[in-house]
């Protein structure tokens, strides 16, 4: 970076002379000139820095980053939300079934009290039911993981959303039009190769395209082929 305007020693000497002569008016004018010179130099340096920053941003915000910001980051959020909802659903099913099993265990306990069983047999069955209830309680308690993992995932979703907003802002400020970022170019060969390796559950709106919705759809499709 060049420094186009240097402080002239003569200006400083003139300022000193004015101060020594107690010429405040002249000294103020000379000092203002010096300050203005300094400020102008600062603005020029800032201008160079800003240009450099724009250049760096242009290099940084390549096509890949634009596509990732527009397409991949929202998909990450969608995938995490799928994890949140599917684990919650699975936990709920487990809790409902465990609670039903606990009620059944209670009913068995009441029924055997009226059954014609020896005291030893009654005690043995009650002991087994007690062990069964302990296991069922363990199943109930182990579902508490959903609360903890859910909280962690919610925070990750918030962080990713915040990161997404920052990137969108950065993209806009660097002069790109976020809304005009195109869709990813679809390469059929790459897509086919990925599908043959396995792409996992189709949980995003985009990946649900051309997917079957249920086992019945699979059976219909295979049925048409005689399987």
């Amino acid at each position: 970076m060049t420094c186009p305007s240097q402080i002239d020693i003569k200006m400083v000497q003139a300022l000193l002379t004015a101060l020594e002569a107690d010429n405040q008016e002249q000294a103020t004018v000379l000092l203002d000139d010096l300050t203005q010179l300094r400020e102008s130099e600062l603005y020029q340096r800032l201008s160079v820095l800003t240009n450099n920053l724009h250049g760096t941003l242009d290099q940084l915000i390549d096509n890949q980053l634009l596509l990732q910001t527009k397409h991949d980051i929202p998909e990450v959020t969608e995938r995490l939300e799928y994890v949140l909802s599917s684990t919650e659903e699975a936990c709920d099913k487990t809790l409902v079934s465990t609670e039903k099993a606990m009620v059944l265990s209670e009913s068995i306990s009441e029924l055997i009290q009226d059954a014609l069983l020896s005291d030893t047999q009654q005690a043995q069955i009650q002991c087994l039911l007690s062990e069964l209830n302990t296991e069922l309680t363990n199943i109930l308690l182990s579902q508490s993981f959903q609360d903890l993992t859910g909280q962690v995932l919610n925070r990750v979703v918030l962080t990713i959303s915040s990161l997404e907003q920052s990137l969108i802002q950065l993209i806009s400020e660097s002069g790109h039009d976020y809304a005009a970022i195109p869709d990813r170019e679809k390469d059929d060969t790459i897509q086919k190769s990925a599908e043959m390796k396995g792409i996992g559950p189709n949980v995003t709106q985009k990946s649900k395209q051309d997917s079957v919705g249920s086992q019945d759809d699979v059976d219909d499709l295979l049925g048409e082929l005689g399987i």
Binding site: M196, G198, I199, G200, D210, V212, Q215, I227
Partner: protein, 134 residues
């Protein structure tokens, strides 16, 4: 080949949880002889021993996919008639058609129910029996 509750079944999935679930469901259906593999590459040498009467496999696994395992089985003259069931999260129509083309006997999408597994196993062995009758 008739459905025999004593048959040897190989369960292939990279997630141990899913192997346990499948094994427990198969136990509920009366089967009791299982081996496990965590990947197609681990499963293939086991399958080559000729021990297995039925293979239940996931699709998406790190070293060798279930689809590739199926293709290996179908390409081997000694093993090609082994009933093969895919249980997978892969649900694109193109993938299901590819599996059908490779010779899969049944295709179950995850998540699935015990009733679906039971129904598919029965259908597979009905078809196998019909095929053997000629």
């Amino acid at each position: 080949m008739q459905m025999n509750r004593d048959m040897n079944i190989l369960v292939v999935d990279d997630f141990s949880t899913m192997r346990r679930i499948v094994k427990n469901l198969l136990k509920e259906l009366g089967f009791h002889k299982f081996d496990e593999a965590d990947d197609g590459a681990t499963a293939w040498p086991m399958v080559q021993t000729g021990k297995y009467d039925f293979i239940v496999s996931d699709w998406n696994m790190p070293d060798m996919t279930g689809l590739d395992l199926l293709k290996h089985v179908r390409a081997d003259a000694n093993l090609q008639n082994t009933p093969f069931l895919l249980i997978t999260a892969e649900a694109k129509r193109s993938q299901i058609l590819e599996a059908a083309q490779a010779g899969v006997d049944g295709y179950i999408v995850k998540p699935f129910t015990a009733a679906t597994l039971n129904g598919k196993i029965h259908k597979i062995f009905e078809r196998v029996a019909e095929r053997e009758k000629g």
